[in-house]
Amino acid sequence: MTGTPAIKAINLVKIYQSGGVPVPAVRGIDMRVESGEFVAIMGPSGSGKSTLVHMLGGLDVRTSGEIWLDGTRADTLSESGWALLRRRKVGFVFQFFNLVANMTVADNVELPALLGGATPRQARERREYLLGELGLTERASAAPAQLSGGEQQRVALARALANQPRLLLADEPTGNLDSRNTKDVLRLLSDVHRKGQTIVLVTHDARVASMADRVVSLLDGEIVDDGALPRARRRPAGTVGDVVELRG
């Protein structure tokens, strides 16, 4: 694969200090994500998944190593440098949603597009598309506090996608969703991915991970597996009987 990777991480390390004791969360990760790729990061809690995506989005400072986003060295940026880079290139979906409390859902979603230089009309059209895909059209004029956890999470995803970022980073984007709402999120992710969106997300949810081009597994802050899923053999109908067996 040639071309500038969307992400390149070199020997990335994060060590937290906990009462004078160094706690390594990420221990030397090398990772390359091509433009347009969809990568899922899995692993037990405490394996460093969240720390890794937070560092890739500049929300957590790396202890050592390098981060390159879209060909630009990012780990040496100041906080405001990161903020600028994120505004232009990165959408982030947090586990906790970080919506602006005194703005409507519609304004929350339009804001990043407007900040990214979209016209009001483009921002509105993008917002309408995203909220529609996520089944939230009717909630557009609500305040975040009036929404359920699952609704807030979907708004956070819409907001992250509002300015069509080069890179979407997400930390458990379906963590608070029931099965039906998860389906809406899956459909939207697969739709934007098909249109070329680069996605890196942390997930426990096998339905989400199974949509990725590649799955990276972490254990104790290190990558223990990294590879494409075996391409779904088009099984003859019915052999999902590997999984489904009804007795009688």
Partner: protein
């Protein structure tokens, strides 16, 4: 296969192909389609045990077809089935056996086993996703069956993760 056939026959008498179609239509493509030979073998056994009886129905330009109907004994067996609690799911332990035993022999590495199994589960999940997309949204039974399979698979993956954490 015996009791589902009894249940379908309790609704109305039917011949073998009608039973096959009823199963396929109800459970959708996630359910391995029963082959017609199996259905006739099962019907034959049910007849021998006195649960069903068959009558020959003449057809104008084809061979007679056998239409099966439920007997009183068959109905009782069906009622017993319905009234009993059903066995819980069994842990599918073949992989676990492999994971525990293979490294002892020195022929496999646990990490590699877990990683390969994870990829396999995820590709099964991908198949289920596709199957769900292709299933008629109105067929709730078929969709629930797929969702059940997905939830089981998720549990298998969670267990795999625990194995990876706990086993050296």
């Amino acid at each position: 296969m015996r009791l589902p056939l009894l249940a379908l026959l309790a609704k109305e008498p039917a011949h073998g192909y009608e039973l096959k179609h009823a199963l396929e239509k109800t459970f959708g493509s996630a359910y391995p389609s029963p082959n017609i030979g199996q259905i006739y073998v099962t019907l034959g056994r049910l007849e021998k045990d006195g649960y069903v009886r068959a009558v020959d129905v003449e057809q104008s330009n084809r061979p007679n077809k056998k239409v099966y109907y439920l007997t009183a004994v068959g109905r009782e067996a069906l009622e017993n089935w319905v009234d009993e609690p059903t066995e819980g799911p069994r842990v599918r332990d073949e992989f676990f056996m492999k994971l525990v035993l293979a490294p002892l022999t020195g022929i496999a590495d646990r990490m590699a086993l877990v990683n390969r199994q994870r990829r396999h589960y995820l590709s099964l999940m991908r198949d289920l996703n596709e199957l769900a997309e292709q299933t008629d949204p109105g067929n709730r039974v078929a969709l629930l069956l797929i969702e059940g399979a997905m939830l089981h698979l998720q549990a298998d993956l969670d267990w795999l993760e625990r194995c990876q954490e706990e086993l050296p």
